[in-house]
Amino acid sequence: MTSPAEADTEVVPPARRPRPRRGVSLRDAGPPIALVVLFGVFAALSPGFRTVSNVQNVLDAAAVLAVVACGISFVLMTGSIDLSAPGIMGASAITVALLVANNRNDNDLGLVGIVVAVGLAAALGCLSGLALVLLKVPSFMATLGVSAVGLGVATLLFAGVQPNVTDPLLEGWAVERFAGLAHLTWIALACVLVAWAVQRYTRLGRYAFAIGGAEEVLALSGVRVAPYKVAVFTLAGAFYGLAGVMVTSQLGAGLVQAGKGYDFAAITAAVVGGTLLTGGRGGILHSTVGVLLVTVLTNGLVQVGVSPYWQGGVQGLIVVAAVAAAVIPQRRRNQVTK
């Protein structure tokens, strides 16, 4: 995987001319360094941690979170926030479970079912975006509402009986391995690469970045910002949808609660990786490093014998500490924080 350090250099080789400062700031370099250090510490402390199979476990465990983080990173880049992951993931998890071969009905749509579920998720994401730009609902509230809508849709479809998946394709994703890693993990890697390419090489990605940097400048340049915001939320919804499908594959069943906790976990990962909540900084690779950091931490704490009951609290402390560290350079007197 490319390191986030490379995210700040451009792809086209520049001419032979004195170049202005384009180095990597500590804020960009920090998370990867922290990842290496953390990995080293756990490897030294725990023989169980440093086995090949455990490293595979860590990567497999990071897969779903990485896909959610891809989606949320685009939203955070624009300076908005997205809390809709649990609802959208729940809706897509139940939908896919009911569309592929399952024990509740005679559907057997296979890959088409997966595409439909992701499409539904994208539509829910689009709804957040529309509420934001048309009704001017703050993203915080809009996405919280859409999350509730998603959970509502999921609950309706669930109808009290859990759909167990018998589709070989979907089941295979979780169990079959390639080069030691589950197919799900490879899917997650593909998502990261696609998201990175979108961030780097598409107008959508660059404008998302610019919206977080200085939205008014875009407007003054004659760019209509609203469609890009809607597109960003739609794209994020699609990623959550795929993540919901992945959870269904792991569990072998569609659950309303498939996405529980992923909103906070993904925001944690993105922030720990160096994506600013105020927008305009960080990106996909930053968030991916954040995902690995969080996953290594979770796994490592278990390996060195810390009670799993401690983990939730520890994760919460880490996100607050990471945000505090990220805003240190911008702190000033009488700053208003809301």
Binding site: E10, P20, R22, A210, A214, R332
Partner: protein, 519 residues
């Protein structure tokens, strides 16, 4: 030069119509007439200066020219064709582009992206970036102005001067939209530049004149006269005339401020004078902060001291630092013989310092709250009414001050945002007076955005407070105001207090005396 005369009634133009013409432009804002019938002609291939004091209507006019403000009346003609500009894009399609005063680049994008932003053309196909094309497009623009900036450098890694080049390169993109020579508006382009960079900019402006018309706005009159072919002057939302490039800055300034009439606009008649030497109420010694160094400053009781300086002189930060709102690194401040704790605003309030911030709407008042609550917002005022707001006591106190300051409000319970700017400002001032122990007032642009009548009221109030012995530090909105109101003027430049000029009533310095010290 191509002309475009086929539409509408033919204008009364000879062979080449002006690149841009404004006729009788009017724009009202609630309580203020920002533009009151402005006429302006920009000829082809000329650099036209636009001068006027703060509030003369310059920025409103410029915004109207790029479609950001819809005028209430009046016409805009481009090359002999009447146009309606509804947006920046509209203006660009007619060949009008503006380099905005506050830098309008996206800091976290590359220079190339900023240059082509909003009109990427072949740089983006079906939503996919072509970085090499993007780079080439930007390079073409940078070549036009002979700049050697790396198009793929992140904008926030460039110097201010380079960013300005990027902005000019960006605004020249409008050449792609129209076959006519463009009109480029530069709004205060020199305010963030060093003198050497300014020279480069001027070279650039003269180069632009070869293929475009330029409107150049600056507060520095010598600059305007240096680079422009002619200078149009606005005052109070009207065009009051123009001067040619060989005019003296003094002539230009006289035109900007109008006849300094005999009416006592600044209430100098009531100014108090006391000649007995005594210890200053405020003594600042060697104060260093974020954008100022080694500042010494004395203010006596009853004295109004104006601090003047160009953008970046550090005077705003100094003012805030005295109130404990900006960190200081060295030096000390003594108020009435007691060393002042600068660690925060609480200590400053407790010591009897009042601060009226420049941003009234965001820092000076709580818009939806009532006049009464805004007036008694400070801890000191709260002491007068007790920890639990006793409506009766608060009402008596507030009503007294509404009457004393002649605040026009329907009721003390009216939301402050419904008052006019002048009355809002009086409430903000009253906040420091209700506790009755204010010793030093720091006024940061107290008349910003106020019309002449309201300004005069604020001036009267300042005089009355000075008469009661309050020491005042004033960051004035204009040089004229600084001269009119101050007993003494301190000039700041590059973070240092570089000169002191006495300004007693009857022996006032001229603006040029100050400008000489400022640059």
């Amino acid at each position: 030069m191509t002309t475009n005369l086929q539409t509408e009634p033919v204008p009364p133009a000879p062979a080449a119509p002006p690149a841009l013409e404004v006729r009788g432009l009017v724009k009202h804002y609630p309580g203020v007439k920002a533009l009151d019938g402005v006429d302006l002609v920009v000829r082809q291939n000329e650099v036209l200066g636009l001068a006027g004091e703060n509030g003369a209507g310059k920025s409103t006019l410029l915004k109207a020219l790029v479609g950001l403000v819809r005028p209430d009346a009046g016409e805009i003609w481009v090359r002999g064709e009447r146009v309606r500009l509804r947006s920046v894009v509209d203006a660009a399609n007619h060949g009008i582009g503006m380099v905005f005063q506050e830098q309008s680049l996206v800091p976290n994008l590359t220079a190339a992206e900023n240059i082509v932003l909003g009109s990427e053309g072949p740089g983006v196909r079906t939503g996919i970036y072509r970085w090499s094309t993007m780079r080439r497009l930007a390079q073409e623009q940078l070549d036009k102005i002979g700049s050697h900036i790396d198009p793929l450098a992140r904008t926030d890694s460039l110097s201010f001067a380079d960013r300005q080049m990027v902005e000019i390169a960006k605004v020249l993109r409008i050449e792609e939209r129209t076959s006519h020579p463009p009109v480029i508006i530069l709004d205060e382009p020199t305010s963030v530049l060093e003198s050497q960079e300014i020279e480069t900019l001027f070279t650039q402006v003269r180069r632009l004149r070869e293929f475009a018309s330029v409107v150049f706005v600056s507060h520095r009159l010598d600059e305007v006269l240096d680079v422009c072919d002619r200078v149009a002057v606005l005052r109070g939302g009207r065009s009051v005339g123009e001067v040619s490039a060989d005019a003296e800055p003094a002539d230009l300034h006289r035109m900007m401020i109008g006849s300094t009439g005999s009416d006592d606009h600044y209430h100098e008649g009531v100014a108090v004078r006391s000649d007995e030497p005594r210890r200053p109420r405020l003594e600042v010694r060697g104060l260093c902060g974020p954008s100022f160094r080694d500042v010494d400053l004395d203010v006596h009781a009853g004295e109004i001291v104006g601090i003047v300086g160009v953008h970046g002189s550090g005077r705003e930060d100094l003012c805030r630092a005295l109130f404990g709102a900006e960190p200081t690194t060295a030096g000390e401040v003594v108020l009435d013989g007691a060393r002042l704790d600068l660690s925060g605003t609480r200590a400053a309030c407790a010591a009897g310092i009042g601060y009226v911030p420049a941003e009234r709407k965001t820092e000076g008042m709580v818009g939806p709250m009532s006049v009464a609550d805004n007036m008694t917002l400070t801890k000191q005022a709260a002491r007068c009414t007790g920890p639990i707001v006793r409506p009766g006591k608060q009402a008596t106190l507030v009503d007294t001050w509404i009457e004393r300051l002649r605040i026009r409000t329907p009721h003390r319970g009216t939301a402050i945002q419904r008052l006019s700017g002048g009355n809002q400002q009086k409430v903000v001032l009253a906040r420091w007076l209700v506790a009755g122990d204010v010793r030093l007032l720091l006024l940061d642009h107290p008349t910003r955005g106020l019309d002449i009548g309201a300004r005069s009221e604020v001036y009267r109030l300042m005089r009355e407070l000075a008469a009661t012995g309050v020491a005042t530090v004033l960051l004035a909105d204009s040089l004229e105001e600084a001269i009119g109101m101050s007993d003494r003027i301190v000039v700041m430049s590059d973070g240092r207090a570089t000169a002191q000029i006495a300004a007693p009533a009857g022996a006032k310095p001229t603006p040029l005396d100050l400008v000489k010290e400022m640059v």
